[in-house]
Each structure stands twice: as C-alpha cells, then as structure tokens.
C-alpha cells in the first residue's frame, strides 16, 4: 500500500479481467480462447474433414454412424501477453499531481487485470527511447513486483514515441495486447505518433492521459512558454483569437488520436489525470471485463 496505490485501489483490481475475443495459437494454457479451434477442453463444433487435418481430432463415433469423416473442434484457450508501454517523459511529470501518477495507476489496472488470469505482463517505460523494462511476469503473486516497479519510475527526458515504439517493435514479441499509456505529446507532431502506433503489430489499447487545461488553457496575457522537455520558448500574447486557434489545434490532435483508434480497432481511454483513476476505467472495463 502506498500513496500511489492505496488499499481500496488495490482491492478494486482483484476482480478485473481481460477477455480477448481471440488470441493466436501458441503460448501457454490460459483463459483466452484462441482464434482457431485447437486442442482445448470445451467442445466448439464439428466440421468436415479435409485432407491435411489432424487425424487425432476425427470423431470416429460419427464416422461409424454416418460413414462420413468429421472433426471434433474444441476451443483452444491460451494466454494473452500484455505489454504496457508507459510514457515516463518529462511532460508526464510536469504538473502537480503529475500525469505520471494517473498513468502508473492505469498501468497497474491493466497489469492487475492480466495477472488475474495468468497472462504474462511486461512493463516498458519509455521517454526518448525505451527504459529498463519489467517482466514478463505472470500470476497475481507478482502484482507487487509490478507495483513496485511502477513506483520506482523517474522522468526519462524527452518524448520520442516513434523511436520508442520502433525499438519495442524490433523485439521478438509474439502477438499480444499492447497498452500504450501516454499524453502523446510529441513535438514531431501527431503524424509521427500515429505512424509509430500503426507500426505496432499488437492489439492496441490506448490510454491518453490528459487534463482539462490541455483543452482549455487558463492563460491570458503575455507569456513566454517553455517546453518542459526541449526548453524551447515561445512568446505568446494569449488573446481570444490565439486561444481559439489553440483549441482548434488541440481538437485536431484529439480527433487524430480518436480516428486512429477507430480505424485500428483499438480501445481508447481518455484518462483525466485530475480525476480518480478507477471510475474512469469503467468505460474500458464494463462489468469489470475489458474486451479489447
């Protein structure tokens, strides 16, 4: 128990589950149904034999009764690896409380849900590139390791989502569920972010950590704005017109993220860093189950 992960928060994590609609074959036996029928326990269906099928799955009783060869299909239940890509750049640590708190709690939620069903969980913090990762770990007993790893996170400098995700993509991961938790503020622009996300060959869950002030900045007058990551400054006279242009630019950014998630079929959670974390996950975990 800590300030970041209070007791009631941890208690609420015990009943969360992730049910992937389909998983690819391979991996360890777990609770996720594979996309194709395989050597599981529960019966799914029959189908006619075609050359090349495994003779071991032929239902010989039906062959005796109907003189036709059918295969007995069973659900193949496999695990679903979870990779949490956690943005720990300076922008996540700027305000108070930092967005990183909400991001780490979100990572804990997703990790706990996976660990509850014996899925392997790995956490990959990133900033300008990938930081030291955790895992994969498996089993509920390892939740404390995940939480401890999350608590030990520190700012990792500038944001380069493209480089970080590309580095992640080059690793030999089998298809998994990738949860990207970030504010997606990359000074290379939205196109670079979308390109990097699109390059991931995993099922995606996007958790965008935001604040209401991002959408409606409470600035008026003369300001010298300094980027917390690049220290680049910009003198701005914040007038109504400038604010309107800002809102328009931010809205385009949001729409870009949403459009990408929709096109990719990825789940998207816009997590308000100033609000309690768990209630916001109700959208992603209806009835405690996330179905990415």
């Amino acid at each position: 128990m800590s300030a970041l992960f209070p007791e009631d928060f941890l208690a609420a994590l015990e009943h969360l589950r992730i049910e992937a609609r389909q998983v690819v074959r391979g991996g360890r036996l777990a609770e996720h149904h594979a996309r194709e029928a395989g050597g599981g326990i529960e019966f799914r269906d029959y189908r006619a034999y075609v050359p090349g099928d495994d003779f071991r799955r032929v239902d010989w009783n039906l062959y005796r009764r109907f003189a036709r060869v059918f295969l007995r299909l069973r659900d193949e239940v496999r695990d679903l690896p979870l990779h949490v890509l956690l943005d720990q750049s300076d922008s996540m640590w700027l305000e108070s409380p930092p967005r990183a708190d909400a991001a780490r709690r979100a990572a804990a939620v997703m990790a706990a849900a996976s660990l509850n069903q014996l899925d392997p969980v790995a956490v990959h913090p990133f900033g300008e590139r990938l930081g030291p990762a955790l895992g994969p770990v498996r089993g509920k007993r390892n939740l404390h390791r995940v939480l401890g790893f999350l608590e030990a996170q520190v700012p990792l400098g500038r944001t380069d989502i493209g480089a970080s995700l590309a580095e992640f993509g080059r690793a030999p991961h089998r298809p998994a569920l990738a949860v990207v938790i970030s504010d997606f503020f990359d000074d290379r622009g939205l196109e670079a972010v979308v390109k990097a996300l699109g390059a991931l060959r995993h099922r995606l869950v996007l958790i965008r950590v935001l604040r209401p002030a991002d959408r409606e900045p409470v600035l008026a007058g003369e300001f010298r704005l300094a980027d917390c990551e690049t220290d680049q400054t910009l003198d701005v006279s914040v007038s109504e017109a400038v604010q309107a242009r800002y809102r328009e630019s931010y809205r385009a950014f949001e729409e870009g993220i949403r459009s990408f998630a929709l096109a990719r079929g990825a789940a998207l959670l816009e997590l308000d860093a100033d609000a309690p974390t768990l209630p916001q996950f109700g959208v992603l975990f209806p009835e405690g189950v996330c179905r990415p």
Partner: protein, 586 residues
C-alpha cells in the same frame, strides 16, 4: 517650414535615435511571465511561430507600433521646433561678439570679488550662458574680435556646437579689433529679421563705442542701425601705482597708470607726521603712461618720507613707498696714490657731471646742490685751504674741509697739478705718490679739467666719479636704474613677462606701459608678482558688471509648427486610448 537650430543631419539622427529607442521599447515593452508547458505543439500552430521568429514579426501588434512610430516622429519633429513662414518672420537673428582681446587675459584684482579668475573666463562663461538661454528658434552667429578672423559659429550651426566652440575660445595674443568685429556683425545682420548684436567684453568699455549702460536698452552701431547690447564681465585689474622714487634737485615720484584709472593724488608725508608735505593731483589723460611728478619743498635732510596714492587702489605694495631723503653731508673718496703725474681730471658726460666746453686745460669747476653749476666766487676761502678739497655747505657755500686724522693734504704746491677754481685760482693740487683725499658733496657737479691730455688721469677720475655715484648719499628707495613697478625698498632684479611667457630683455629704467604690447603682463621681483593689463583701446573706467545675459522677450508670433505637432501627438494618444478601450489593440 524650417527646423530651427537643427541641421538636417542632426534631425535625421534624432529621428533615427527615436526610432531605435522605440524599437527597443516596443520589443521590451512586455516582460512576459514564463510558464512551463508540457508541449508547445499547439501553441506554435496557434501563433504561427515562424512569423514570430522574423524581425518584423517581433511587432506582434503592427497597429500599435505604427501609432508609437508616429508619436515618436512627431515628438522628434516637435523637439526641432519647426516653424511656419509666419513664425519665421518673427525669428530673431543674434550675433554674439566675443571680445577676446589680449587685455582680457589679465587676472582680476582680488579685491574685485573674483580672486584669481581670468577676466576672459568670466566673459566667455557669460556668453555660454547667453547661448544656453536663447530659444532654439533664434538664429545665432558668433564672432570674435580677433582681427581678420572668420565667424566662429555661423547661422546654421547646431546650438551645442556653438556652445562648444565658444568654450574653446582663448584670449588672443594681440590687440583686438572691436570696431571691426562690430562692423562684421552688422554686415551679417543686413536684411535679417529682428537683428541684435550682443557684445561680451570686460569691465572697461572702449570710449569710441556708442554704448549706454544697461542691457535692455538697444543701442545702435554703424552701419545698419543694429541694436547693440553689451554684457560686461570680469573684475577690475590694477591700474595705477608708484613705480619709482628719486631725489635729484627735488623729490621725484614716478606713477604709472592705466587708461581706466580714475583721477588720484600722490601724497608725501614725513615720517611721524600727519600733515602731508605735498599733495599732487594726477588726472590720467586716457592713455596708459608713467607720470613724472616733481614734489617741491622736500629738503634733502635725510628724513624718511612716505609717498602714497590717494585713494589707494587696493595694492598696498605699490600704492605707497618709503623714501630716505638724501643728506647733504660730505662724502670722502680715496684717490689712488698710484695716480700718474700729472694727475688728471675727467670731464665726461655723466648724470652728475657736465662738460662745459672742450679744450685743453679747461678749468675744473665744482658746483654742488644747485641745478646750475656754480663757479667758486672770487676770494673764496677755498684757496686758503691748501691740501683740502672743496667743501660746500647745504646752501652751496664752500665750507672748511674736514680732514680726518691721518689724512694728508691733497695738494702740494710743488706738485704741479692743481685744481683750478672758476677764476683760475688753484683749488687743489694732486701730489703724485702721496695719498690724497678728495672730499666732495653730493649734488650736481660739473667738472672740467686742465689735464685733458692725460687719458689715464681722465679715466682714473671717471672711475672716481663712478664711485662717487655709487656712494651717493641717502640711498633711494627705488634705485634709479630699477624698472617700473618695483617694490619700494628693493633693488632686486625685476622680470617682466607677458602671459605668453615672453620676457622683456635688459629692463633698465622706468617702464612705460606704452612700450608694451596690449595684453596682460606679469611683473615679478622681490618674491612677488603682479599683473597689469595694457588695454588696446581707449576705454572708460571700469564699472560694475552689467545685468543678466538675457535678451528681451521675443516678439509675439502665431502658433508655431511644433505646437501643431504637439497637438497632433495629443490627438494620436487619444485615438490610441480609444482603440484600446474598444479592444482593437490588445
């Protein structure tokens, strides 16, 4: 429209400086609050950062900048005091004539209230203050009295340049041409509106200058009927003093005075008494000179007399002198016993000797105490006093010789050399090889000698008489050979030099200031120095300094250009404020 007081170059520089200052102010006018944000991504798109990075883009509010630029330009133009044609008609043209004659190089009398200050410095400072007080609308030219010099500052010169050049003027080495400068000033003012000549000079005014006292009243100089105002500055300098005393047939007092000296008197008082022996009035005739005053009724009795000027001029070292009157006592002069026979007597031109006639064996005549040589009367007892010299009493009568002990008679009947009296009777005879004493009385002495053929004897007698002169009784307070301005009672050498350090060589005799070039001269001797001023012009006595260096109020004129510009600035400020209120300008 003209821009008074500013040349186009200066005006352009002024506007450029205002624009630069405005640029800096506009750029620095906002001190933005620094705020760290997670990303500048959206702000960059909002404010079009690429435009903001360019130099013109710094002016994020071009309309505000245009307003400020207009304000700055109008203020710069208003500073230049532009003037319409109507206003130009009221422009005053002032020619400042700065007298830098050499006489102003003298330092003022300490009693004049400005101790140690060169008079020209005060004159120049007054001219500087005058230029400072002038309006930029006034056109100014500056001339000096240096002969043949061009204008120091012409009409179009910037005012600060005029002040700088005036500050650099130094007293000339020679005489100033005041009249010429005034003529040049009048010529420059021909055809100008509201002409005015302002003369800055010392306390003395030239006699030939048509000037009345007071600054505000306009006077006129030819040609052209130009009003002339005179500003007089600087303290008075010493202009009179006792420069020598001598006693010949009578007491002589030598007094030097400058041209500005007021009438004064010379008073001779015997020591210990209050009633003066004599009081002589001196009225300077307008030229610096040395007056030779013979004071009658002063007997050569060896008393101490004090000679002083009334009224005193504040210089105690030369407005009084002590003088020891000569005594008519017999002096003894030893005659060299090696005098070759026959002893001769020199008759040579000498201040105390006169040669009555040339010729062999001229008689020797002795005369003492009178202006005219006196021949010894016939039957004079002198003849009866063989071996003695001629003695005369105070009234010029021969007296018995007073021979001291051990002094042998001078004359010997068998020597063959005899001093003859006027009536050809032998007076004394020089005896070769024997010591002799010749006793003579001081005074006017005429000698003639029958031994003119004997050059050696004549030369010997000349040396004798030189010694007589050196032993002249009653040492004069001021030696005859001392120059003017010598302090009483001193015989120290005197140095005379002008302010440029030039020295007068071999100064002997009284110094007549007429012999000096105009300017300031320093006289040094006996451990002290004094300055006198030799004025080049005929001048009036020094008076009190004139009033403030300020011209009368300028003529009334219509509203001037700069006033219209100031009004335009006000209107622009109001428009700017209105736009701010309406939110047109953030």
């Amino acid at each position: 429209m003209t821009l008074l007081g500013l040349s186009p170059l200066v005006l352009a520089a002024l506007i450029a400086a205002a624009a630069a200052a405005l640029f800096a102010l506009h750029h620095l006018r906002v001190r933005p609050e620094i705020r760290r944000v997670p990303t500048l991504l959206f702000w960059k798109e909002a404010v079009e950062e690429t435009r903001a990075r360019t130099l013109p883009g710094r002016f994020r509010h071009p309309r505000t900048f245009l307003f400020l630029a207009a304000l700055a330009a109008l203020l710069a133009l208003a500073l230049a005091e532009p003037e319409t044609k109507a206003g130009r008609a009221a422009t005053r043209h002032v020619v400042v004539v700065l007298d830098n004659g050499a006489a102003l190089a003298a330092r003022a009398d300490p009693s004049s209230g400005v101790p140690g200050a060169m008079r020209f410095e005060e004159v120049r400072a007054a001219a500087g203050r005058f230029l400072e007080a002038l309006s930029l609308r006034d056109r100014v030219a500056v001339l000096t009295t240096e002969p043949g010099a061009g204008p120091l500052v012409d009409w179009d010169a910037p005012r600060n340049l005029a002040r700088g050049r005036v500050a650099e003027v130094r007293p000339a080495a020679g005489m100033g041409d005041l009249a010429g400068a005034l003529r040049r000033a009048a010529a420059r003012l021909a055809g100008k509106t509201h002409p005015q000549v302002v003369l800055f000079t010392g306390p003395e005014l030239p006699r030939d200058l048509p000037v009345r006292e007071g600054f505000d009243r306009g006077l006129y100089v030819a040609p052209g009927e130009v009003p002339l105002a005179v500003v007089r500055r600087g303290g008075a300098v010493r202009d009179r003093g006792i420069v020598g005393l001598a006693y010949g047939a009578t007491l002589e007092v030598r007094v030097a005075h400058g041209e500005s000296a007021p009438p004064f008197a010379v008073e001779v008082v015997r020591s210990g008494q209050t009633e003066p022996i004599a009081m002589l009035e001196v009225a300077p005739a307008g030229r610096a000179s040395v007056a030779w005053l013979a004071v009658p009724g002063v007997a050569a009795d060896g008393a101490l007399v004090e000679v002083r000027l009334v009224p005193a001029d504040g210089f105690p070292h030369n407005d009084r002198a002590l003088y020891r009157l000569p005594l008519r006592r017999v002096r003894r002069v030893a005659v060299d016993p090696a005098l070759p026979p026959p002893a001769g007597l020199l008759v040579r031109e000498h201040p105390w000797l006169a040669v009555p006639a040339a010729g062999d064996r001229a008689e020797l005549r002795l005369a003492v105490g009178a202006a005219e040589p006196q021949a010894l009367p016939a039957g004079s007892p002198v003849a009866a006093f063989e071996g003695a010299a001629l003695l005369l009493d105070g009234a010029g009568r021969p007296e018995l010789p007073r021979l001291g002990a051990g002094v042998r008679p001078l004359l010997a009947a068998d020597a063959g050399s005899t001093l003859l009296a006027a009536d050809r009777r032998p007076l004394l005879q020089l005896v070769p090889g024997a010591p002799a004493v010749l006793e003579v009385a001081p005074g006017l002495l005429e000698l003639s000698s029958p031994f003119a053929r004997e050059p050696a004897a004549i030369a010997h007698l000349a040396a004798l008489l030189e010694r007589l002169a050196g032993n002249r009784p009653g040492a004069v307070a001021v030696p005859e050979a001392a120059p003017a301005m010598l302090l009483a009672g001193t015989a120290a050498p005197v140095e005379i030099a002008d302010t440029a350090g030039r020295r007068l060589p071999d100064v002997r005799g009284l110094l007549d200031v007429r012999d000096l070039a105009p300017g300031a001269w320093t006289l040094g001797g006996a451990g002290r120095t004094d300055e006198i001023a030799v004025h080049p012009d005929r001048i009036l006595p020094a008076g009190a300094p004139s009033g403030e260096e300020r011209l009368p109020a300028t003529p009334a004129s219509s509203p001037r250009g700069w006033e219209w510009l100031a009004l335009a600035v006000l209107v622009l400020v109001l428009i700017d404020a209105w736009l701010h209120v309406r939110g047109r300008i953030p």
